[in-house]
Amino acid sequence: MVHKTPAGELLRAMSHELRTPLNGIIGFAQLLLRDKTLNQRQVTGISAILESGDQLLVLINTLVELARAEAGAWELNPVEVSLRDWVAGVMDVVQAGAAQKGLEITSEIAPGMPESMHVDDRCLRRVLMNLLDNAVKFTERGRVVLRIDGERAGRLSFSVQDTGRGIAPARLDSIFMPFGRSPGDAPRVQEGGLGLALSREFVRLLGGELRVSSKPGSGSTFHFDIANT
């Protein structure tokens, strides 16, 4: 039995009602910031409104996505992409953040992997970006590796390994729960504690199961495999 997000149905049905006022907030804040007659204090205040609005929008979008994924109301849209190019594209985005922290971030594609894959590009990208972002965030030194291999025929196996602080065994289950990362735990990821919950749902949609193995102090590995349809 999958844990259904409470209020998920409501959030899904209300997504329009939630976004409408948010657009108002973000839109008018942007409009105001263009006004060059504002003094510094006013600019700071309105920037704070805009920032909070953006944050809220990401949060609400993610909640709604999560509820949609849980309800199976997510239409997959698989496309044919070049495996190598696609991975390079993902790595480009996360490279900067890793470099800033002085981390090495690499991708390894096992020999003999097919040239192309046929997947829902958006889902898979969200999952990997989230896992790589987290890996960078929770690793102080060392490296982050994205590995792709295909141990079983017709399936692609992905893993994201870091040399970070690791996760205590007792918490391995709860990290996939929505808001499972307790607030005492380092700064929030973009989706406000929903990233792993959403990633797990997306991997399920792609026909796999996101798992983690970790050793506190020496790092974590998130892995999953999906069908290369």
């Binding site: 409470p6 009602e17 939630l18 105001l32 205040g45 409104i49 920032e51 504690g193």
Partner: protein, 876 residues
Amino acid sequence: MISRIFYSTSVTPEGFTLGLSAGGLSTHPVVLNMIAGLTILMAALFEYQQQIQATRASLELRNADYAAERDRARALASSVTESEEHLKVANTRMATILDNIPDLAWVKDVEGRYIAVNQMVVKAFSVADSNVVIGKSDFELIPKEAAEIYRGTDLEVMTSGERSRIDEVRRDKFGKTYWVETVKTALRGPDGRIIGTVGIARDLTERKLAENEREARQVAEAANKAKSEFLANMSHEIRTPMNAIIGMSYLALGSGLNPQQQGYINNVYRSAQSLLGIINDILDFSKIEAGKLQMDSVAFDLGDVLDNLANIVGQQAEEKSLELMYVEPPLLPTRLVGDPLRLGQVLVNLTNNAVKFTKHGEISVSVEVVDRDTESVQLRFGVRDTGVGISAEQQLRLFQQFSQADASTSRRYGGSGLGLAICSRLVRLMGGSIGVNSTPGRGSHFFFTARFGLQAGGAPNPPPLRLGALSGARILVVDDNDAAREVILGMSLSLGLRAEAVADGPGAIAAVASASAVANPFHVVLLDWKMPGMDGVECARLLREGSLLHPPPTVLMLTAFGREEALQQLASRQVTISGVLTKPVTPSALVDACAAALGIARRKDTRLALREVARHDHEARLAGARVLLVEDNLINQELAVALLKGAGIDVTVANDGRQALHMMDIHEFDGVLMDCQMPEMDGYEATRLLRLQPQYQVLPIIAMTANVMAGDREKVIAAGMNDHIAKPINVEEMFATLARWIRPAKPAVVRAAPAADSLVQLGINADIGRAATAGNEALYRRLLNSFADQEADVVDRFRHARAAGNKEAAMRILHDLKSVAGTIGANEIQRATAELENALSAGAADEAVDMLIEAVARALDPVIAGLRARGSADGA
């Protein structure tokens, strides 16, 4: 324990009927002992039987062959009889034991034929007695598939020689499921040979059901806990940025933006409020569904709830030109105990809906007492509209849980669409019920009951409004809307005013004239602004111009529209009136307005004004306090700092609990404002650590958290904090809570606000002016400025009119000056003008009049000059 002794297997012969009756001992050791006993008993039995058989055989042999040995044989026969007696006794003993255990017990031979069974087995096979079963195998008694399974386990036990425990699930012919545990043991003869099996079967159904139930309960509890944790987290995650948005726009509104910028920020503010409303609905609904919503039980004033309703819904009604009115008995008990926020939520929801679905006409909100005793009162609230109405079919679904189909409706009309479902659940939690009567096209009437406690020690009824000098005043109500007119007329009569009502402007003029003609003049005319034909402004002008035997009545404009808009209209048409009364009119507002209009001072005790005073008081008490703000979110830090500094509080910021502890070592603080969820060290932990140190045991620590789930307050108190402020921050509540706990060690020298100070010097009672403008500071300021502009030449105008012999115009000028001065709180001018007016009416001598004119000028000039100075200071 048992599973370690026995190897276990599971057999499920579906559809097999055994018709077991319930029962069962609770401890397995008893079964084990019993089996051991039975095995010994059976072995003894077999031994006896075999002895007997052997003896008989030899006896017969010897009998035939050796007649001589007959005597010995007789002796032997008697010993056999003795043995048989023993056997009988043993048999009976065993049968008694077997029949008295609540389990099924049997013995089978190696071929699987029953040798012995107890009464439970007889019952289970539904046969007359044990003889039907004895000597038969399972194959002759039960379906083949089941018999095969049983035979299989019998053979296993006999082959291995070991005990076996078998758990099986059986289903009887009615489909009822039984859990049965069977223990089978090989039966050995005296020579150690296996000679059959012994079995005992026990019905575990009851125990199993209890176990399943317990497991299900645990799972449900865990799920419920996860659910409420999720909701608490989601609430926190959403409210934190909401707090920043609402708070920052609040601050921006007061930062001197130009009108266009103000408009933009207003939109941000309104969007944020509407978003918060939807999010609150979603969270509320989810909380109710999870059984996590708890009702508060606090002392509150029903009047505050109704005032708040008027503030929230009044504006929307106004924008749609709808009449919004209150129908409440004058002796309504208002000092109640209950949950004012939830009551307000239901009322706002129903009234908002009424406004939303009504294009023309009126909305009335009524309250009545259904039932009361010494401790509690049951009230019935009604919200009636003249809107689109609701079909019978829709009415049935109205209060039901949210369904997808409703989403389209909510999309069309805004809001979450959850409102009524939430209302009906809240009403139930308030011990009442909700209902609706509606005719499509005619309107709807929603009503609900709710029970509240009555405040102990408080007067059972509110003290009746003191009419004082107003008692017996003659009031004319002029309103084209029948319902609105009747409500205000009824309210006026019930207050003891001598009131009459007419439906339009010409009617009003006629009524005023004829009342004056019969020497029973009206003192106050309550005049609706928007009326077909002659509107209120025109009517007021004509009333002023009519020639009457008595001074023209004081005019109060009734409006559902913005006060300011009404005042602008009046100004542009150069009509002066004494005041504006905003609909819906409450009894206290009516008395206040009439008293103010007639220049009768009435103690200013409107709740709104009291709140205003309270806030200034709180802020003054807090000024100079040194407060440590512990908050990780930068935007919220900034917001809280701005608000606290505004009240003269000296704020220091710590980013988390650890930093806070560190700062406490270095600086001294009068109090701590503590966010609860923070990285590094949260607020609960920091508080616990602080409280361990003797010097911080009584330091006020106030939690500030975005969690507003029931139980959060308890949690912060349990952690050692003194109180709790919810985010998004309600500024008034925040200062009230802070003032309750924090006492500055070095209070700031309290300076009265310079603006108020200068007004006092001018002899203006700003409290009266603020009450007249319902606390709208900007409006009051504009009124003061326009007074300075328009009344600067009033003495000249009056002298001019008098010199021209236009007594009427002169009187009108004085009358206007008197009422406007009263409105802004310029008591001295009002008093001097009234004296002059009276003197003129009484036909006083010119010298006396001149002196009084001088008195008015003396009162007026410094006020005009002072206000002009202030006005230009404001503008800078």
